[in-house]
Symmetry: C2
Subunit: 305 residues, 2 copies
């Protein structure tokens, strides 16, 4: 329903003078009276949809609620500044639960120098809801948008993909430092974070840029968890299938001009690793190229809200 | 539980270089690389606590979710810029409900020139939750804090008080324009918006300023709804009782130096009306002075979370 709703809403949201960049990218950019622009993003997590409070430690939920937003700022190459935290807490365990959520969230805030600027803490008879809004700032006037990829650009990703359900979905490192480091040194044309699925988010970036993308099957970096799930072979999906569609990898997907892409991958200056997994092409759509060179259309896979 | 939690949390939140003003006032102020400071506030409303979806039109809920945040910006004399909206929608009626919420929220956003900068729209099996974060900017480097009142300042309020449960709690006008207008022309020492109760919020302002306050009973502007509730006399409370403790008036409570306060009240330049209802005093606490001049201590009344 989210897609249909966003379509309905976007018709009612004309371009606004207060926004340098409106809704539709990983975050929006506000036009301040002075200054380079303030980047804002919100994510709301609910029990039973985004996590199961009966099975996961609340500290990991609190950490994740901030981390997903930091990942959105990373996808904009924005520096995080502050966050506000809104909670709806089940009444019977409100205080210990609130503390645990923050005990997960605060160390991550400290790690990324994010100030907790406020919050709203509520009790109710419903399940846990946690909504975090982060604010950051554009660095050197150069936000990283989804819309800047050009045919011929190479697809570069951080880290590995697939199997996030085995733990990575809570424990991932938002690629804030990596994004700022890369944006300061290399000509990045476009970027998105992989929250819903590698193919789905890559397709979104390509669509926003008005082009298509080709993935080289053999080059996709597979997480150990993707191999583990494939080995369990519950539904016949391969490790590659998991990498292409699982989502919640929270890695960066970048469009980089060829020369810089070559340098990036040969130098390997980041601990998380950088992989060259394909290229952007003129015709819209998504393709997978196997080792024999055979090319087949790929349906964008991942979590749709 | 909120108070206990905030005490626990504040011990874990040392002053942060990214914040010009941290949590504890009506909103926080971020220090941007350039610019005067970005003001941020969040409020989360839940079904059955803040409203009853079975009894109130969802458009009024959507409107209120933005309006309470604008009231917080008004209390800071900040100009609203943008808002992000996070929703947890009951699955069975998600799309029509989301549209109705926005149909109430969007006209208010337009009225106050607030850009909708993004959102996160989720469906789940729980009741409705709506969390709005607003961002604004400080005007001329002069935010209005809670902490600036001095003994001898006069207490000036906008509008009327009491009985908000009869409708005002949804249909109030956030005092954004009034606040900006007043802050530009008069020396306002401190301000807060009355969300939880006139005496409770006044007491908070006085406490933050390290002083006390005296209210003149006969001067408190009583809303028609306060008189109406008193006439129904369900619990024996007078119209004044309702004005002092009902809350959700969303009027401004201001600390103004005597001379300016006199001018303000005699000129009456605002359509909402301005009333002089008492003064700040050196000793901490809250008192009510009746027409005979008798002075009795007042227990701060209102909604505590």
């Amino acid at each position: 329903m989210e897609l249909e709703f966003i379509r309905w809403l976007s018709e009612r949201l004309p371009p606004h003078p207060n926004l340098k960049l409106g809704p539709g990218d990983d975050a929006a950019i506000l036009r301040m009276a002075q200054g380079d622009g303030c980047v804002i993003s919100v994510d709301l997590l609910t029990d039973q949809v985004d996590f199961d409070l009966a099975r996961v430690d609340p500290t990991r939920v609190g950490r994740k609620a901030l981390a997903v937003n930091l990942s959105d700022l990373a996808a904009m190459a924005a520096r995080p500044l502050a966050a506000v935290v809104a909670l709806a807490l089940p009444r019977e365990q409100a205080l210990p639960l609130a503390k645990q959520l923050y005990q997960g969230l605060l160390p991550l805030a400290e790690q990324f120098n994010v100030a907790i600027a406020g919050g709203d803490t509520n009790c109710w008879d419903g399940p846990l809801v946690i909504s975090v809004t982060v604010v950051g700032e554009v660095v050197d006037g150069k936000p990283l948008l989804r819309s800047g990829a050009r045919a011929g650009d190479q697809i570069i990703v951080t880290g590995k993909f697939g199997g996030s359900i085995l733990g990575h979905q809570f424990d991932f490192q938002p690629r804030v430092d990596e994004s700022l480091w890369l944006a300061a040194r290399y000509p990045l044309h476009a970027g998105i974070d992989c929250s819903d699925g590698l193919t789905l988010d890559l397709w979104r970036l390509a669509e926003a840029s008005g082009c298509g993308a080709e993935l080289d099957a053999s080059t996709i970096p597979l997480a150990d968890a993707a191999r583990e799930l494939a080995a369990q072979s519950i539904d016949g999906r391969t490790a590659l299938d998991h990498a292409l569609g699982d989502g919640e990898d929270f890695e960066l997907i970048l469009a980089v001009p060829s020369e810089a892409a070559g340098e990036l991958v040969s130098r390997q200056e980041l601990a998380c690793g950088l992989s060259h997994i394909g290229r952007f092409v003129p015709e819209r759509g998504l393709w997978l190229v196997d080792e024999s060179g055979a090319r087949r259309p790929l349906v964008p896979q991942g979590f749709t809200h």
